[in-house]
Symmetry: C3
Subunit: 456 residues, 3 copies
């Protein structure tokens, strides 16, 4: 198609990348410094934040967290490859590379030191990565219907909102959400769904639906599943710093994933007549089991609780994908490319409810020394267990409203003519940066071009 338009679109993306990286470098030069040796990360001693201070001499665990820092975002990336194919990898990498830098700045704003500097360390990298994970979840809802410029702008807007929501929940309200059931999974999913709704383009979407089915590269789904099983339990507990508490969160996530996987074998053949269990479904089951344990992972005191939660969450997710997704699509006009509502949204909400229940039931007897790390405010006596549960519950609608409003506004902005007009020439990025033509006049040809970007 129009050669000039393709070239100009490419140059606009290049220019935007250059500008954003330059801006980030300047802001980092002005404000960001490495923290002192035993860096306390984001947590200023004054604030009652849920990320605990490292104990003296515990420098090593911090370093290991840094080792894990890059894993979370890329785990999502690998997870999505199974759903949408490697064609999305360049765009996603672009989002991750920018989101990590941007999140450090945005989150640092809320923890300014008195000297006007943002001190970063291994712990703030982990926080930045949680933020990146939320952005990737959101992008999972709109993949295939946005161009890279739109994704970059969505990242630019979502990251500050995420940081704001996280600051309100963790620091102001004193919510415990170490694995991000609410702040990451639910926030990311509903933000993305509202962006998707605002960006809706009737004819293109139908085609998008078609092209998704039938060419999910199983190899990536298999690898993504293995990756989730291997590394996820460690992620989910990356921010629970105290050593005593860590193994339980890890084990809870692990049990939840096991039960969730078995649940997929129970319900999938009943819901879907063809009865073929795709590798992508197993991957979703692992993700669901992990998402539901995000908040409750460090609170649960017994393994069977994690199993029950994972078992129920997997059923909920499968029922959602069977009965709720068609309603979302037809009634609410929300397209959901990678099914983030079922895999992240619903389990995130369920995980929050489980966490609320557990917070209400928490007693000093049952938790012992762990109370300090899991519910610091309750341990200090400034809050009762039921008060903690009330705040945990309040955080849910607050997060959903913030995500929905922010997503709608972002979607409306991204849908403006100036941004939508770019992707007229799909061949410009046919190899890796996949795009969808806005008009969709000759879907067959475009399909072929898009098809060429998958693995042989």
């Amino acid at each position: 198609m129009a050669e000039g338009a393709a070239a100009s679109s490419r140059l606009r993306l290049a220019g935007l990348c250059f500008f954003l990286q330059l801006l980030t470098i300047i802001l980092f030069a002005a404000f960001v410094r490495y923290g002192p040796e035993s860096d306390p990360g984001l947590c200023s001693p004054q604030s009652n934040c849920s990320r605990r201070d490292p104990e003296p001499g515990s420098g090593y665990p911090r370093f290991r967290d840094a080792h894990l820092q890059a894993l979370l975002g890329f785990g999502f990336l690998l997870a999505f490859l199974g759903r949408y194919g490697p064609g999305s990898v360049a765009t996603s990498l672009l989002v991750v590379a920018f989101a990590v830098q941007w999140a450090l700045l945005a989150q640092g704003l809320f923890y300014f030191s008195p000297k006007g500097k943002i001190y970063v360390g291994a712990q703030s990298m982990v926080s930045a990565d949680f933020c990146t994970a939320a952005v990737l979840i959101s992008s999972g809802a709109v993949l295939g219907r946005v161009n890279p410029i739109q994704l970059l702008l969505m990242t630019l807007l979502e990251v500050p909102l995420f940081a704001c929501n996280e600051f309100i929940l963790l620091s102001l309200l004193g919510i415990s959400d170490s694995g991000g059931s609410l702040t990451v999974h639910a926030f990311g999913a509903y933000f993305g769904l509202m962006v998707s709704r605002a960006l809706r383009q009737p004819r293109v979407d139908e085609r998008g639906e078609q092209q998704e089915s039938g060419r999910q590269p199983d190899a990536f789904a298999v690898l993504g599943t293995l990756y989730l099983w291997i590394f996820w339990p460690s992620f989910a507990s990356a921010t629970t710093a105290q050593d005593g508490a860590e193994p339980w969160a890890v084990l809870n996530v692990y049990f939840s994933m096991a039960a969730s996987t078995l649940a997929a074998f129970v319900l999938s053949p009943i819901l879907y007549e063809e009865g073929t269990l795709q590798a992508a479904q197993l991957q979703d089951a692992a993700l669901v089991g992990a998402a539901v344990m995000g908040m409750a992972g460090e609170m649960l005191l017994t393994p069977f609780g994690a199993m029950v939660a994972g078992f129920l969450a997997s059923h909920l997710s499968l029922l959602g994908s069977r009965f709720l997704s068609p309603i979302l699509s037809s009634r609410l006009k929300i397209q959901d490319t990678c099914g983030v509502h079922n895999v992240h949204g619903l389990p995130g909400v369920l995980g929050t409810l489980v966490g609320t229940l557990l917070a209400g039931l928490a007693t000093a007897d049952a938790y012992g020394g762990r109370m300090e790390s899991v519910f610091p405010l309750v341990a200090q006596g400034s809050r009762t267990a039921s008060g903690q549960a009330w705040w945990q519950l309040c955080a849910l609608p607050l997060t959903l409203i913030l995500a929905a409003l922010g997503g709608s506004l972002t979607g409306a902005l991204l849908g403006t003519r100036a941004l939508r007009s770019t992707p007229k020439s799909p061949e410009m990025e046919s190899k890796v940066l996949r795009e969808v033509p806005e008009d969709g006049l000759n879907p067959e040809a475009s399909d072929e071009e898009l098809g060429g970007s998958t693995l042989a």
Copy 2:
């Protein structure tokens, strides 16, 4: 084929999964609790088990073991993908998800606390994962000739037997086998081979042979090889808790794998005339090098010993696959889908013999402070080095007899008409849950269906 039969088969699998998960949850609710903060795992202080108590303040290494817990089983999974293709992944994941939970219960039975509870922690997860690895090895011998229901039942029966054998060896006889040469590799291989023998179905087996060759997805073999090299040395030493002993076990495994890989380049072109060295062969060489170091890894005091052992084991494995496998198949009627006899059985036995030799040669001078952790009974003076060697040697026939008897009985049970009649309709799980028709009336058609489940 018969649509109704396919549906009923799917529902039977769903029902079995539901029942097993429910049973597990109930048993966990009744008996399993997280251990106290510095959790001693499976090891009760009374028993003289080879899993050592963590030292005070060593909570962090325990957590890292938890990080590794999921790796072992999935390493095997990835390793088998290279031999049998991603079609087996859903079934294998099902086995892993169930076996981990089941193994925690079965192994916990032998370490009941006085209060009638099973206390789990990171260390017991590692033990459960060793058990899962043995189940996966066994399933490698029968893959392609069993349906998912049969595999689940095999898991149900093998796990308690594994726990029983492990308890006898490690706790009663005081055997040192930290990396599982005997308890995992040899036990799993011979159990699976005997199940395979009992399940033998002449005409189907021939077809199974055919279909294996020629479509080994090299990509998975390459990834599996890298995975083994990267993570295996850490696994093999996951249960050697004392810090001083760890690096040696890691390094020994590493040297053994290096020598084993070079040995594959030496013998393979001599044994096989076509002279093509497949990626799967390199993966096998890495597995062999690791399996032979399972028992001896923490005992060897010099790097060249590990090299010699790996070099010999690789030769033995290659000679076995060239000359022994045809005999097994034709004379003893044992089919071995993934060649577990050569890759796990023989090196496991060789590793046990090496470990026996080293135990007999152990002197307090050479081991110094490590004696306590490698041979606690010898260090305490309740046993001589030659006595330890004698018991290590006795453990070999004991394990082989237990594995063979258990495997035969399990195979006979799985071969009953009620279970075998299920997989009449291969199309029901043609995508991921691959099955083999019992009668094999039209092998060409079935071949095509099965072939459809591999990666493009």
Copy 3:
């Protein structure tokens, strides 16, 4: 082609492998022992080597380094798969398996203990792996134009030279180069390029060029990219043993990779008209960002410095691949199969210059307690900061000269008739051990045979 020649070639490789492994085992038996419990690795207390002694009680971090040991080499392996395809994996594994053992011996020679033994431990395995990485970089320049025997001999010769250069730089001159910008990346790249120049064979090379383009398996590039992002930051700081210094090196590498990736999106669409950003380019960007931080990673005190360095290095690398590579190929007759000059050579040199600049600017105020670990000689007062910078700068031409001379000699030796005449029958190793016929009389047929070795 000639059946007999193929068989003899296979047997020669088998014999060489057997001889080298036997030689290594004998040398290990004679000289190599595990170090004492808290093993100081290669560093004798007398020498002022940059690998610091572990502090008392820090045994555990050492073990983790051992966990990482195998990662580095295999990371490169995975990285190259994306450029040259899995056909190279068997040869590369052979090189790695031998190089690790050989490097332990060669590096140990320079740190002989008074008792005439080489003591190895986790730390020396990390050093051996850095050496293996350099060999893999060199092999990246010549892949596809050498046979396995030539590669083995190149390894045999390059490893001692690497150890010699490393000893001169780190121990004699007191250079700080923890991540190997100079000793690994620059040395490996220029050594390989000179070997490639000496091995140049006009007609074959053209074919090599052709066959490279157009069948880069994107899946491997995607996985390699993820792998680099996930594990590389930890590698780059594997040898900076002190806990306080570690997070900064990790974070600097991470920021550098992020900025480098964004830079690829900036420059790539401008330089290449087709505007398609391949997964392999993203992988290169990640490698470049890591290579440039090799020396400066532990020296940089601010995150934005790492971003600027990564941003510039990525631009330099892309400009080099666009404008410099054609000149290298046409004028200097240097073929560069995997583009190691742009991905390792140029960023390595740039990283050395950045490190020199930082060393010159180092003040005790800015570094505080870290001065001791980053520039031990400056901290001890035996050198000024500008003196340190002078030596860092001198190390650059020294390394380049050593690499170029050694590479030329090695290439001349490998190009002798006796070695070149081997690969006359490509079908002998058509599956994995790919070779190139020397005469190239019927390139079409050979192409087909070679093409058969790629993934479906």
